[in-house]
Amino acid sequence: MAMRLPLPGSEPTPPLEDDFERDLHTEHQLLNMGPSHPATHGTVKFLIELDGESIVDLDIQVGYLHRGFEKECESGTWYQAIPYTDRLNYNSAILANLGYVMAVEKLLGIEPPERCLWLRTLGGELSRLGDHLTRCGAACLELAAMTPFLYGIEAREITWDLQEMLCGARVTSNYIRIGGVKHDLAPGFPAKCRDAIAKIRALLRDFDDVITGNRIFVDRLRGTGVISREDCLRWAVTGPILRSAGVGLDLRKQAPYLVYDQLDFDIPVGEVGDNYDRYLVCVEEMQQSLRIVEQCLVKLEKLGPGPVNTLDPRVRWPAKGRVFNRMEELIQQFKSVTEGPRVPAGEAYHAIESANGELGFYVVSDGSAVPYKVRCRPPSFINLPPMRKMLKGALLADLIPTFDFINMVGGECDR
């Protein structure tokens, strides 16, 4: 983890002379920022009450990207909700697929084969890497540092190329299936992936050299957007923000799913809970994600070819050869396609650690082939309201890095 620079001695600003104070008439000013503002990557509106340059109060207005995700899910099959999850957090679509599918699998009681678990972990970590690169790169851009943004986005391109090789799409992956994944690794993937990891490591080194110790960057991040450990818990904040405040909560360690209990990785934890700590936590998490990807590649090569989908007939289509030659399998295929799988009645909640924090899905089934209720617990939506507390009394300019490192993603926040 990169080292924090020592704090310079902070001198209190000298009080203003009475003469300057006496006749000065000031009044608070209301400023609309957004919903489409070049310095915020996300459609969100801030209604800011300003006293000079200081923020007196702040109203955060979300919902500009509301597309009725939950309503749409209630009108299709359980499978048809998976592409919608891609469009929640579009920076890390595979993680959103994974959260939904694991909740449905919990209801169905399906255990995917081992190779599938490793593939999901690999895809998920590539996704997380892309998400953190977007967050850190875009934050630099919005603080007027163009060069590190380009390094970050170049590295993200590489992760997207890998995701394209994995599932055929760069952004909206639609990779995870109930009981499996879309398909196994393409030939030559491990070699290409190792090559890409080396390139990403080099880019992250450049990124680190350019910006981590940069005086302007550090000054704008350090001591801004501070939130305490207790406040994080009260506001149910999770992910890098909570870890930057000194709580080592990561569901990959606390409630290991997939194969995270067999992997060797560390959870970086901050001290102060300011934007600089959040930046450092994210940068270190990217290194840890690369480590996990490498371990997944080794394990997948060791496992050798094998099934990547469950054989459970409730969710899998029968083999094509049988569909073409046998009546029963033909009927099964027809029913699977037209009706979709029936999920036993009940309710389940499953949470995974997404790039922004706890991404949970609460699914309710009434026993039919259509979800009765799909609730996404969106970390972006829940991490955003404490921003008001973080920024009260701060300077207007502090809003930009604070918002960047909260990493609100419109698709996930507004659903």
Binding site: G63, G68, E70, K106, A236, G346, A348, F381
Partner: protein
């Protein structure tokens, strides 16, 4: 009623034997259905009781069981970082009086999530400091996640506001 070895359910069954209506632990998720009048009291107990320590109100949502009485079901997910355990609390509210106590006095995270439930389901939270729509706009008619709200329903056009 059984506590399924969950410390939270055990505590609730001891302290509030009359308010807990049902419990289950399907798929490992400890769940209690409670009477809506006691919600605030029960939640305070879950938050403050040593050994339970639910510091986090992780999620608030609702389910519309159209045709059943009472119609709406509030679903709360609680998480304790200290103890690393979870519990789900559910409470039903009737259609003619869709109202329940707000949890904002206990956890500020309830603020936006309750606003969302009000917005999409039309369930009011008494004691909420600022209960207004959050994902939709003020002029929106109806509450779209109710099962009797048709997906294709059109909304009146709203002109620009200043």
């Amino acid at each position: 009623m059984e506590h399924f070895d969950s410390p939270a359910l055990r505590c609730l069954l001891e302290r509030f034997p009359n308010a807990v209506q049902a419990t289950h632990a399907a798929f490992g998720d400890a769940t209690a259905q409670v009477e809506r009048g006691s919600l605030l009291e029960i939640m305070r107990c879950l938050r403050d009781e040593p050994g339970l320590d639910f510091e986090m109100l992780s999620d608030v949502t609702a389910v519309d069981w159209l045709g059943q009485q009472p119609r709406f079901e509030l679903v709360y997910h609680l998480y304790s970082v200290k103890q690393n355990h979870r519990v789900r609390i559910k409470s039903r509210v009737p259609e003619h009086e869709p109202e329940i106590a707000s949890l904002v006095p206990l956890w500020p995270s309830a603020d936006w999530m309750e606003r969302e439930v009000w917005d999409l389901y039309g369930i009011r939270f008494s004691g909420h400091p600022d209960l207004r729509r959050i994902l939709l706009y003020e002029e929106f008619e109806g509450h779209p996640l109710r099962k009797d709200y048709p997906k294709e329903k059109r909304q009146p056009l709203v002109g620009p506001r200043n």
